[in-house]
Amino acid sequence: MESTNPFGRFLLSVAYAVALAACSGPQTKDFAVFANAGHGFVEQAPHVYDYAFVQEVNADSAQLMADRQLAITLSTSVRALEQTLIARDDLFRQRLDQFNIMKKHALFLRGYFIALGTLASDAQAAQAGQAADNFAMQLGSLAPAINNITIKDTPISGLFKPITQLGVSVLQNKFLKEHLEQHGATVWNAIGLQREMFVELRKLERDEESKIWRQREKVELAKPIADLQTTLPPSWGQQRLALLTISSSETPITAAIEAAEGLQQNLQSLSHNQSGAIDQLERSIMWIDALLNAIETSKRGVKQ
């Protein structure tokens, strides 16, 4: 039986208005998905910095090994090599400090994405709905006649919970949208700075690929196999595999750049009131993990 009760009509109109508001622009779940993807990205970022540091030190060691060969060829003083090693170690310590700043920044971003994810979670609306349910039950026990009022065959007491949940979702969405209006640029810049650092590291990586890796191949692989007077080291085959396993076109750094760009695109979609496709972004984040794992596995192979 449809109620003609004014309170019942009020509840219906509230539900209608709330449902309309909830349907426009990105939904709370879109923010939750974005926060979750952002969390995945910043979880991987410190590993990418570790990877970059190891690659850069290894590349410089390969360069020093080649320079050592040159010193032998030219019969030069070894003191220059010693001093160079000390100077470069100092520079790598500085670089480690720079990477630590980036890692701390990633931790800040992690804290942000966790907070955003909590705000956008269903749990908030569910808790409010539970409290509303309890409120309706108490109201029913105080005035049992309330339980007899129905709207489209649904008792009023049964409507409190869904309406409150929907209301909280709209409120969540409003907070999220307002937040993005105020702080979207900061988050955009934060992701952009991580991306910018990865782009710089990719440039370094490319320089190493074209120059240092070739030298490493010469010193670590070609020289021992061509030296027929001495026995090949047992790890020679695994070293070769480790060197070849590192793809020159797709590395954890390129995957991190792709993921950062995906994250920025999604943020832009949310800022422009559109819900963005997040599948591509999730794949990029998984790809960083897969590439890091592949490198770890090949390194473990060399150590064995």
Binding site: N134, L176, L193
Partner: protein, 131 residues
């Protein structure tokens, strides 16, 4: 403090967008010069010729070769520092964004708390009415 790059360096010494672009261009130029000097050492004929030179000349040339590599590393560190200095400023702005999200969360939780308080109040009223 704004998180975006402005025309001039701010009071914390964080470089502006123009200063960053200028610094990057200069660093790139220096890097190319060092790389050009380094490429000389890939020429076997040059190394063979150098090996015939007196000890002092060989030592000095080798020292220069090592210095090139060190200078290139220094340039890279400066390039990365151009980013890390801005990162420190952005961390402060992120802190404020986290506070904003936490406050919104607090306001949502207040809704639940009010509903719970109303439920408790009604329970007390119901007990009083039945007495």
């Amino acid at each position: 403090m704004s998180d975006t790059a402005h025309g001039n360096a701010n009071s914390d010494g964080v470089p502006s967008a123009e200063e960053i672009a200028e610094a990057k261009a200069q660093l790139e130029k220096a890097k190319q010069q060092f790389q050009q000097a380094e490429s000389l050492w890939e020429d076997d004929a040059f190394i063979k010729a150098l090996a015939q030179k007196p000890q002092a000349e060989r030592d000095a040339a080798f020292q220069r070769k090592l210095d090139i590599g060190t200078q290139l590393l220094k340039i890279e560190n400066v390039r990365l520092a151009l980013i890390t200095r801005r990162v420190q400023e952005n961390s402060q702005a992120l802190d404020s964004a986290i506070t904003d999200v936490s406050q919104a969360l607090q306001r949502l939780q207040d809704v639940t708390r009010i509903l719970n308080a109303l439920g408790s109040l009604l329970a007390i009223v119901a007990r009083i009415v039945t007495l």
